[in-house]
């Protein structure tokens, strides 16, 4: 099972600039679904790519689903040559993306994030409206039920805010 706290601690303590998207962001916004991996967008600058590689090195990242023994090393050169990586690590499954399906890079998403304290760490999550946008843009049939729930969360938040105003 993925140890979300351990993964996030490694990234935060390593000074990595990243934004949480996907199922964990949905959970943080109030989704009742469970998710088994951590999806994040990393900033594709030379410094941050170096920090990402160094932060994850102790967790021995490897390509998820790949046969064992490939000469894969999640180092700066690998990250520069690639973009999105689906990894398995000693702390569980981790998807690190330079760009989200739907076109969101770190810098494009940054103004659409909120920082929240989880597991004693301050981490950035994509905001709810943008999470819905990304899922709609991805256009995957499996996301339709999730989008319905996320839009219902938006409705409930609006209703709560309206009730607070009364």
């Amino acid at each position: 099972m993925t140890d979300f706290a351990r993964l996030l601690r490694a990234l935060v303590e390593g000074g990595v600039e990243f934004i949480i998207i996907g199922g964990v962001a949905a959970t943080a916004h109030g989704s009742a679904h469970v998710t088994v991996d951590l999806d994040l967008i990393y900033r594709r600058t030379a410094d941050n790519v170096a920090r990402l590689s160094a932060a994850l090195a102790p967790l021995q990242p490897y390509l998820r689903g790949a046969p064992p023994g490939l000469p894969f090393v999640f180092d700066v050169e690998t990250i520069k040559r690639g973009l999105n990586f689906t990894l398995v690590t000693a702390a569980g499954d981790l998807d690190v993306m330079g760009e989200a399906t739907g076109g969101g890079t770190y810098d494009a998403l940054l103004p659409r994030t909120e920082t929240r304290a989880v597991f004693g760490l301050d981490v950035r999550f994509v905001d709810l409206a943008t999470l819905i946008h990304l899922k709609r843009a991805a256009g995957r049939p499996k996301d339709l039920e999730r989008i319905a729930e996320l839009e219902a969360i938006e409705d409930e938040r609006r209703a709560m805010a309206a009730a607070d105003d009364d």
Partner: protein, 75 residues
């Protein structure tokens, strides 16, 4: 290694891009699913902090894992 060869050229480090415009027209499938969303669960979750929501989800994952273990199922 061919399987893992990149398909498209990755963006240059440091490149900035904007979110693409997408249609936000109501989708009939999403609208149909929305009728079945359990809003009581959402309302309970919205009373929690972000940290509490994640811990609750992890507790559920552990529960599922325990059931799988006890019944000999694998993920």
């Amino acid at each position: 290694m061919d399987r893992w060869r990149r398909i498209a050229k990755p963006p240059i480090l440091g490149a900035v891009s904007e979110l693409p415009a997408i249609s936000l027209e109501p989708n009939p499938v999403i609208e149909a699913y929305k009728k079945d969303v359990d809003r009581t669960l959402i309302r309970e979750n919205l009373k929690l902090t972000h940290d509490e929501r994640l811990r609750k989800m992890i507790a559920m994952l552990e529960f599922i894992e325990e059931i799988r273990r006890s019944s000999g199922m694998k993920r």
